[in-house]
């Protein structure tokens, strides 16, 4: 098990300041929840909806999973750490493609109503103690998530705009771990130059803003916020010689092309490694890996028996004649990837507590854009939750299965709670109150 030296990071409120005029946030600080075992990190594993009848375990008694479905069978390898949840509707259960409910708790109708649409990963990145102070506040990765006019599930920013992922593994690697130090340049000198350049860029952006109306100014404000995030990362840069282990530098995108585009499945395997290493180096504590978007994911998965095809058009709508055979195979593939991520995290020590693995101190969540992607609705959203020894989740030796008809947002609040956030003002459906605006019970250990 690897050991890492502890590092101190400067806190940052830059991104939060951008949102301050627009968000009706509670001003009180999050209160400690001594009874809940908190995670330090959260990893969202996101994919499209599925065919519910083929996903649900086929043998269940109470909460105990006796027999997994073919789709979920690979999860049996880590069943002692797994909680399956389904049955939970969104606020807009008839929403389908492109609806933003899944990670925000807010559907289409919230534009222009003064309510901010922010996905749970962004909410946590900005509010969770320890998350916002990392060099990278949130790491959104996933290949080809803009294909076919589709959009990713992540939302943030002052007006709740959709956030893109980094698709290129090489670009993600360089963003997380930085490029090579130029020959003859010290890290200190490079840092000084970078800061001078950023000062120049910011000054130019502010000069341009002077000529523009509010709509165009907002673009530069988003740009300036991006620069602020970069400055935070620079301020927390690893000194030369640090023992943090980077993964192998990925090849250029040109080396992983398939049928005229980046091979999504191959690229996302590399992204898994980047996320695990980014956690191990404490560069970020919020990471998301997305498989495709709400419209499309071209699947090249050698060894699975799957043809090269689009997950949504080809597998999800593959028709009753095959009993969705290809969808079942692909869902099993995704489940295998989920288990792969767990195993990667098990292979790293927690950088602050080497007696634990990263998996012990991380909450993994497999979330989807829709419930039933075949008929396009959000009547029964489903999650796969995973945490390690002493982690946030209440687990059982054979895995747990929870069926709930509560609003799905409550699981998003569980994720917030796991990261130490107990004030949910500014997140999700503002019309939810009382018990409905609390994490789902019986999830936390």
């Amino acid at each position: 098990m690897r050991r890492f030296s502890r590092r101190q990071f400067a806190g940052s409120v830059g991104a939060g300041l951008l949102l301050a005029p627009f968000i009706n946030l509670a001003t009180r600080r999050p209160m400690a929840q001594a009874a809940v075992k908190q995670a330090k990190r959260v990893l969202l594993f996101c994919s499209m909806g599925t065919k519910p009848s083929l996903w649900t375990p086929t043998g269940i008694s109470g909460e105990t999973i006796n027999t997994w479905s073919a789709m979920t069978k690979p999860l049996d390898a880590v069943k002692a750490n797994i909680v399956l949840v389904e049955g939970m509707p969104t606020e807009n259960p008839n929403n389908g493609h492109g609806a933003s409910d899944s990670l925000t708790g807010q559907g289409f109708g919230y534009y222009g109503q003064g309510v901010i649409k922010i996905s749970v990963d962004q909410f946590i990145a900005k509010k969770a103690a320890g998350a916002s102070g990392r060099p990278i506040t949130s790491l959104l990765l996933g290949a080809n998530t803009s294909d076919s006019g589709g959009i990713s599930q992540f939302y943030g920013g002052a007006n709740g705009g959709n956030l893109p992922t980094i698709g290129s593994p090489l670009s993600a690697f360089n963003t997380v771990f930085g490029g090579m130090l130029p020959a003859g340049t010290s890290a200190a000198a490079l840092l000084a130059r970078r800061k001078s350049i950023l000062d120049c860029v910011k000054a130019e952006a502010n000069t341009l803003k002077g000529s523009l109306g509010s709509n165009e100014k907002a673009k530069l404000d988003v740009h300036l916020d991006s620069i602020r995030q970069l400055e935070n990362k620079l301020n927390a840069s690893m000194p030369a010689g640090n023992a943090c282990m980077k993964p192998t530098t990925p090849g250029a995108d040109s080396a992983m092309q398939y049928m005229g585009g980046l091979d999504s499945c191959a690229a996302n395997v590399i992204h898994q490694n980047i996320i695990a290493s980014a956690f191990a180096c404490d560069i970020t504590r919020v990471a998301c890996l997305e498989y495709g978007n709400d419209q499309k994911l071209m699947v090249n998965a050698p060894g699975t028996g799957l043809p090269y095809d689009d997950q949504h058009g080809g597998f999800i709508h593959s028709g009753a004649s095959s009993n969705f055979a290809n969808l079942v195979k692909f869902e099993a593939y995704l489940a295998t990837q989920f288990v792969n991520v767990i195993n990667l995290l098990k292979g790293f020590a927690d950088p602050e507590d080497p007696s634990k693995t990263l998996f012990d101190t991380t909450l993994l969540v497999w979330a989807r854009d829709m419930g039933d992607a075949d008929v396009h609705n959000q009547q029964s959203m489903r999650f796969v939750l995973a945490s390690g020894t002493g982690g946030y989740l209440k687990t059982a030796a054979g895995g747990r299965y929870i069926k709930s008809t509560e609003r799905h947002e409550r699981i998003l609040l569980n994720i917030c709670e796991a990261m130490g956030i107990t004030s949910y003002a500014g997140f999700g459906d503002p019309k939810l109150t009382g018990t409905a605006k609390t994490p789902l019970s019986n999830i936390a250990a």
Binding site: N95, G96, H97, G98, A99, F108, Y111, G112, S138, L140, T145, S146, S148, G149, G150, G157, A158, G161, N162, P164, G167, L170, S171, N174, T175, G178, G179, P182, G184, R194, I197, L198, V201, E204, L208, S211, L212, G213, E216, A218, L220, V222, H223, S226, Q229, M259, G260, M298, P307, D309, D310, G313, G314, H317, G319, A320, S322, D374, V375, H376
Partner: protein, 617 residues
């Protein structure tokens, strides 16, 4: 056997309905949904449009005898259609506009000032052009992952520098700077190599001219700022790299400025107009000739209008290699021609090799470029009595290969029984809009409906069983789709797609001609229901892609639709206050030149919006 379903098309339709959700900023005001309800034989009650699955509410529409009346302007987005009155026949939902309804022209105002971030391809092309990197050696990173809207990833509201982009841009800029030093590119700018303020200024002005797409006068305050960076270097090379790194992260490089000067109406500067011209016609940064022409306008020795015409003529010269960029950048997005490469096919039935796809791409591109480089129009592309073939492609189509080689040449289709005239019959279209194992009348019809008629169809209502059920008896694809979609809830939408798509049925999912399917005769007659003109409710008797192509070629609605999409591609905005002014002027000029493709592009360039703006909101 792969059985992807019609619902895959529903996914496409839903993508159309989700337009505008990719931006971090308030979207442009949307238009009302069409509030017209279709009434039956009896009088109908007024329909109230309800908020659809999108921002904003639809206007109120009144249904009654005959066609309903469009609703009032809504607040934002596209709402659902109003419900029809009672009585009469079953409710049929007419198609709605794929693009926002133009906003009325009251004072001939141009569009708003804006900053327009470079697209991913423009970013890459610009860096290569700046360094004259003809070998594609510069290590340019993939930075942006931009959303697609209306078929293009160019929307000025959606192209942002956000989240980790600044970090990616920094890494990219430093890598490019280091490469430029190692590749001996530094002396291109300033023609000196010493670490002093004179050389530094020359370098900054030389590199800045290409990177910022303008002349940096000695008095420009940016010179002093960059000189400070330069002089902090340990050597000329080190200082130059610092300047390159900074300028490639600068908003003056990353954004195209369309701000201009003025008070109530702003005139874009010669350099801003040169930038517009260059990115529209070449997809890249202005070359030295264009920048020199902008200098002349700035010095008063040439008018802006003269510069536009002179440089557009140069850049669009018949032999210009960039013409492919000028027109195909638009056509690929408008008609989805690059689906040829991304649509999955069942290799156990027929393997589409890269060579074959490339050949089909060359064919369709050649047809379009031939029209563009001459005086051809969309009409001539849709009805071309010849095509471009090599031996491989002719063999695939079942056409004679006499006189053909690996090179492409124009071949007459006169008298052919296996290929009809025009673009619609090309392998590019047939393969791009197909299921993996067979043709798809729905996809092909939807392409025509949404991209060429500028109408769209609502996505399937929730909880509707859209599972595709394969045939249980020998039948043609047409018969199967008719049997599946001519009744119940499916028909209300599928009539607007499938019945157009039936005109393509002489070709299978790979573009091979057929007269039978499952030993049954092919019926390739098509119908366009609810023709946009409304003069006749349906357009019937369209036989094959020849008949459909002729109808579309003669349709003024198709011309307007193309111009509308091309304007969006050129300006990066699909709607703005009084945008009807721009569309009307473009249509008028294009019309006077028989809607030639090049003339249509020139009409966009001649529009007031190309050189003038008003303040943005």
């Amino acid at each position: 056997m792969l059985r992807p379903c019609l619902v895959a098309v529903a996914a496409i339709l839903t993508a159309s309905g989700c337009a505008g959700q990719g931006s971090a900023l308030p979207g442009d005001p949307g238009s009302a949904g069409n509030g017209s309800g279709a009434a039956g034989n009896g009088p109908g009650a007024a329909g109230n449009g309800a908020a659809g699955n999108g921002p904003g509410a639809a206007g109120n529409g009144a249904a009654g005898n005959g066609s309903g009346v469009a609703g009032d302007t809504g607040t934002a987005g596209a709402g659902a259609t109003g419900t029809a009155g009672t009585g009469g026949g079953p409710l049929v939902t007419p198609p709605k506009n794929a693009l926002a309804t133009p906003l009325a022209c009251t004072s001939n105002a141009p569009g708003p000032r804006k900053l327009w971030r470079l697209t991913g391809p423009q970013f890459t092309a610009s860096i290569r052009a700046i360094f004259n990197d003809t070998a594609n050696a510069a290590p340019i990173a993939t930075v942006f992952n931009d959303p697609t809207n209306l078929g293009f990833a160019i929307d000025a509201q959606a192209l942002l520098v956000q989240e980790l982009n600044a970090s990616q841009l920094q890494d990219n800029a430093e890598a490019i700077a280091a490469w430029a030093a190692s590749a001996n590119k530094l002396t291109m700018f300033g023609n000196c190599s010493t670490l002093d303020s004179t050389c530094g200024t020359k370098f900054i002005q030389g590199f800045g001219r290409r990177a910022f797409r303008t002349t940096l006068a000695a008095s420009d305050s940016r010179i002093a700022t960059y000189l400070k960076l330069f002089m902090a270097g340990s050597s000329f090379s080190d200082g130059a790299q610092a300047v390159i790194s900074a300028m490639l992260q600068s908003p003056y490089f990353l954004y195209r400025s369309e701000i201009g000067t003025g008070t109530s109406t702003f005139t874009l500067t010669p350099f801003e107009v040169a930038t517009e011209l260059s990115y529209l016609l070449t997809g890249s940064t202005p070359d030295d000739t264009l920048l020199a022409a902008a200098d002349n306008v700035a010095a008063g020795s040439m008018t802006l209008t003269a510069m536009i015409d002179q440089q557009a003529t140069r850049l669009l010269a018949t032999s210009s290699a960039s013409n492919a960029t000028a027109v195909m950048g638009f056509m690929n997005g408008w008609l989805g021609l690059d689906r040829l490469y991304t649509t999955a096919h069942d290799d156990t039935i027929l393997t589409m090799t890269k060579s074959l796809r490339d050949a089909m791409n060359t064919e369709s591109q050649s047809l379009i470029l031939e029209a563009f480089n001459g005086t051809g129009s969309l009409s001539s592309v849709l009805t071309a009595d010849h095509t471009f073939l090599n031996t491989e492609l002719a063999t695939f189509y079942g056409l004679p290969t006499t006189g053909l080689t690996t090179a492409f040449k124009s071949v007459s289709l006169a008298g052919s029984t296996v290929r009809e005239p025009g673009l619609l019959a090309t392998g590019t279209i047939m393969n791009g809009y197909a299921r993996p194992d067979t043709s798809s009348p729905t996809q092909r019809g939807h392409m025509v409906r949404s991209r060429m008629l500028c109408q769209d169809v609502n996505p399937p209502p929730p909880n509707l069983d859209t599972t595709f059920h394969p045939s249980t008896m020998p039948e043609t694809t047409r018969d199967h789709f008719v049997n599946s979609h001519s009744t119940g809830a499916c028909y209300s939408c599928h009539q607007y797609m499938d019945w157009i798509g039936f005109a393509f049925e002489s070709y299978d999912g790979w573009g091979r001609h057929r007269t039978t399917e499952n030993n049954l005769p092919i019926n390739n007659s098509g119908t366009v229901y609810s023709d946009p003109k409304g003069a006749s409710p349906n357009v019937t008797g369209l036989t094959g892609t020849n008949g459909l192509g002729s109808y579309l070629a003669a349709s003024d609605d198709v011309r307007k639709c193309m111009l509308r999409y091309w304007t969006y591609f050129a300006y990066g905005s699909s709607s703005w206050s009084q945008d009807a002014c721009t569309y009307d002027s473009i249509y008028t000029e294009a019309s006077s030149n028989s809607f030639g493709l090049k003339a249509s592009l020139m009409a966009i360039i001649h529009a007031k919006n190309f050189t003038q703006r008003v303040q943005d909101q």
